[in-house]
């Protein structure tokens, strides 16, 4: 192996795949806008009555009650309207699937259990009809994630507008998604095995899955050591590259977090134990039984992604409102959380998942944070998105009311400072058939 190869390998390790590839949305071309006389909800600070927000070249340049509007800016009168940051879906498949029952249009789950090298942004279709539909209720960003097997692959934080996947992608890999193996036997009450044979079989499969997962992480640790050794000492024997393990390197090194998808208490506990073993930086997701593990999350400073909220509890004897009340419990305990739709076609309903938590005790402003600043902080992108603050991407929505209310309309929507029309495949059909003679 030549010196050049080594250099390339090192560059590769430091490069976009394993680093944090950050792609700007061509900020230079975005014209200046000023929205004035509106009630502005920055989310990270108190609402501003009769406020003005200015953005230029794709970024927010001023927010406040007394703001000078630069010459040349397009002025929007926001009288009677409200301005919020664009909403962020903390887990979705928008752009990865078009028609669920048509396999040719679905790219959410790769074959097999261990696919850390599957990357969401690779399969993102910028021209999917699902994307404009998602925007209608103010969702401007999504954590687009794969969902197959055990290690499903890495997610990307995307702008829900752009001509190419790269233009849409703010950060990738954002997180590695592990759907932690579940001990399931099927059919039995309360997930209990139906008989001893079924129990044995289920345990065997479960153990096999965990072993596979553990092997992948041990191999990645070893690979990391070997790569480090080779970088510092060229006499170390050359070894063939392994893209599966390379994809896990930033995870075992703690640079990229793992989103552990686990729902029931025993699965969550098993996932946390596994994360402890490999000292992973963890975000817990789905987490229906989250109230039973709150101390474990607090002691490890693990944030949570809840959702879908408008969903049924797993067990017959669960309270009817279990999924509506989890958010309040986390809020009371001081555990950071965000909310996901875990959907593609109806990711547009994200704000109503958050509202359901508020109907059951979560303060309204905390519900709004769960779909704006909280996901941004949890995924380490709060410098770019999640609130109306100077320097952040101009992801801005203008509404005629509270965006968490269904009856509210989003009037204007900006992504990266670009004025995005609110039409979609659905409005197109609506207009066409409204005119049917």
């Amino acid at each position: 192996m030549s010196r050049r190869t080594v250099a390339l390998t090192c560059a590769f390790f430091a490069g976009s795949l394993f680093g944090q590839s950050v792609v700007m949305n061509n900020p230079g071309r975005k014209p200046a806008f000023a929205i004035r006389n509106a009630t502005i909800y920055p989310v990270t600070s108190a609402p501003i009555a009769n406020g003005t927000i200015v953005f230029d070249k794709g970024l927010i340049t001023a927010v406040g009650a007394n703001v000078t509007i630069p010459p040349g800016a397009t002025i929007i009168d926001g009288t009677g309207l409200s301005v919020y940051p664009g909403l962020i879906d903390a887990g979705a498949q928008v752009g990865l699937t078009e028609i669920s029952s048509v396999p040719g249009s679905v790219d959410t789950a790769e074959l097999g259990d261990i696919n850390p090298n599957a990357r969401a942004e690779v399969a993102l279709n910028p021209h999917s009809n699902v994307i404009p539909v998602t925007r209608v209720n103010g969702v401007t960003n999504a954590v687009v994630e794969p969902e197959g097997g055990v290690i499903s692959g890495s997610s990307a934080l995307v702008q829900l507008a752009g001509w190419t996947p790269a233009e849409m992608t703010i950060k990738a890999p954002l997180a590695m998604h592990i759907h932690f193996p579940r001990l399931r036997t099927g059919g039995g009450f309360d997930d209990q095995p139906q008989d001893e044979e079924a129990e044995k079989e289920a345990k065997k499969n479960y153990t096999k899955s965990i072993d596979k997962l553990r092997d992948a992480f041990r191999d990645a640790q070893a690979y990391s050591k070997a790569a480090a050794a080779r970088r510092s000492d060229t006499t170390v024997k050359r070894f063939d590259r392994d893209l599966v393990l390379e994809a896990l390197l930033p995870v075992v090194d703690g640079r990229v977090p793992v989103v552990m998808h686990a729902n029931l208490e025993r699965d969550i506990r098993a996932a946390l134990k596994f994360a402890d073993e490999f000292k992973l930086k963890v975000i817990l997701a789905d987490a229906e039984d989250v109230v039973r593990v709150i101390p474990d999350l607090k002691s490890r400073s693990i944030p949570v992604i809840l959702g879908p909220i408008l969903s049924l509890p797993t067990h017959e004897d669960d309270p009817y409102d279990l999924l509506f009340t989890n958010a309040k419990a986390l809020y009371d305990a001081g555990v950071p959380f965000a909310i996901q739709s875990a959907d593609a076609h109806n990711a547009r309903n994200l704000p109503y998942h958050a509202a359901a938590c508020a109907a059951f005790g979560l303060p309204k402003d905390a519900a709004l944070k769960a779909i704006t600043i909280n996901p941004a902080q949890i995924f380490g992108v709060a410098d770019r998105v999640g609130s109306l603050e100077v320097g952040k991407l101009a992801n801005v929505i203008v509404t005629d009311g509270d965006p968490l209310e269904i009856v509210t309309h989003v009037k204007r929507l900006f992504i990266g400072g670009e004025d995005i029309p609110l039409d979609s495949y659905h409005t197109l059909l609506y207009e066409k058939f409204s005119k049917r003679p």
Partner: protein, 465 residues
């Protein structure tokens, strides 16, 4: 041992909300039970909104409704102070599979119109209780859509805690489920390798199954007419063989059974309208009807209703042109339109689907509220009993913490025929009781186990000595 304990606990858990109830809700409302819901905003549906109003329930019926001052509350009435709260009629879901014991599809033949959901209802489906917690009280429980004619449906009220024999709405119309499009032609599921495909496999075949069934039914009816005619003439003919499927099809032709048809694409909707006109039956309600907006005036002209989920789309090819404006477009074209669920989850918040019809297509608040109350009641031909808060109607209603079209509102109390079948405070108390019972039982189990071990150990220790 453990399994038994858990099973026992489940029985407690699922039965608890019905069985362990305070006196007020322990049994069906007696004719003398009087409940007054005071000082609420009453969304009557048929007579507008009443601020600071009172609903008086006597027995199972609504006895009075109006502004506080106009409704006298008799002495001895149970008074519920609902100041700041809203009262909405019980939500009606015209597409449910809740409370069906086992599979919803009798898939073995293209037409299984002889089978009946009413025969396989169970009152142990906790989903019924969860729907009451979302203000839903009545449902049309249907077969699945795996064959063009799936079987006869059943209209029920979620009388949680009552014997299942009391769930069907007495005197309600008989109904049957038809299905068109991808599901009955088995597009999205394949039989295991080696087993033959099920007929039909195309929309042509779906039409043929329905056409042949009615054609056969006409022949069947003619055979019976001939038989009756000969008998009347004093002859002694051999009676035709009775056929339960043909009886069913004949009853549709006689107008005794309402057709509710699952459908998606506009062409298959037109197919069934044309077939119905040709063969002499009516479609009462197109179900799902996701492309109803494309042929709304034809649906209206046939006199059929449309029941749909407002924003599900893209889950299969025939759902790709589904738009949330469908409800508004159908409603405006004169189609009797409702929002329904097809889902144990969605059935818990059909009020939100109604709200979406305001967002998508701009229906008024009144128009939106009708989508989940009086309109489905009309589709089920039960609007003389349910669907609005009017004197003489069944006391099926829910008290909401805020306006039911707000996402921040939830249900406090739900009544079915005057009985409190869900109450949030009661539910919260039952959870505490259940948790305590569970803890007590687990402790007892652990104690018993420890004692058993100790007892077993003793003789051994003696031996060692």
């Amino acid at each position: 041992m453990k399994k038994t304990l858990r099973t026992a606990l489940l029985c407690v858990a699922t039965a608890a909300p019905a069985v362990v109830v305070p006196a007020a809700g322990a049994a069906a409302a007696t004719p003398d039970t009087v409940i007054a819901i005071r000082d609420a905003t009453i969304l009557t549906i048929t007579n507008g909104k009443i601020e600071h109003g009172t609903v008086l329930i006597r027995g199972s019926k609504i006895a009075a409704v109006g502004p506080n001052a106009t409704v006298a509350v008799p002495a001895g009435a149970q008074v519920i102070d609902a100041a700041g709260k809203f009262v909405l009629p019980g939500i009606i879901d015209t597409h449910s599979h809740t409370g069906v014991d086992g599979s919803v599809n009798e898939i073995s033949l293209p037409n299984t119109g002889m089978v009946r959901i009413g025969d396989v209802l169970t009152n142990e489906d906790v989903s019924a209780y969860r729907q009451l917690a979302g203000g839903t009280t009545t449902a049309l429980v249907l077969h699945g859509s795996a064959n063009p004619i799936g079987g006869q449906s059943q209209i029920v009220k979620w009388k949680w805690g009552h014997p299942v024999s009391e769930w069907p709405v007495a005197g309600a119309p008989r109904t049957i489920k038809f299905a068109l499009g991808e599901n009955p032609k088995s597009s999205n599921f394949r039989p295991p390798p080696g087993t033959p495909l099920q007929y039909p496999q195309t929309r042509m075949g779906v039409e043929e199954v329905i056409r042949k069934s009615f054609t056969d039914a006409r022949d069947y009816m003619a055979r019976w007419d001939e038989y009756e005619g000969r008998r009347k003439r004093g002859e002694t003919p051999i009676p035709p063989r009775r056929d339960l499927l043909m009886e069913t099809m004949a009853d549709i032709l006689r107008g005794n059974i309402d057709v509710h048809s699952h459908c998606y694409r506009s062409d298959e909707i037109m197919m069934l309208i044309n077939l119905a006109n040709e063969l002499g039956f009516k479609v009462r309600e197109f179900q799902h009807v996701l492309e109803g907006y494309k042929v709304a005036k034809e649906i209206a002209a046939h006199g059929a209703g449309g029941g749909t989920f407002i924003d599900w789309w893209g889950y299969k090819l025939e759902a790709y042109d589904a738009i949330p404006y469908n409800v508004a477009l159908m409603d405006r074209a004169g189609v009797l339109t409702s929002v329904n669920s097809d889902s144990d989850e969605l059935a818990r918040h059909l009020n939100q689907d109604a709200a979406k019809a305001m967002k998508y297509g701009g229906l008024s608040e009144d128009e939106a509220l009708r989508l989940c109350t009086i309109n489905p009641a009309k589709q089920l031909r039960l609007d003389h009993r349910i669907g609005s808060i009017d004197v003489g109607k069944d006391a099926d209603l829910a008290i909401w913490t805020g306006h039911p079209l707000s996402t921040y509102s939830r249900v406090d109390t739900t009544f079915v025929e005057g009985e409190i079948v869900f109450d949030r405070q009661r539910d919260l108390q039952l959870r505490k009781d259940l948790a305590k019972e569970k803890a007590d039982r687990l402790k007892k189990e652990a104690d018993d186990e420890a004692k058993k071990k100790k007892d077993a150990k003793k003789p051994e220790e003696k031996k060692d000595e």
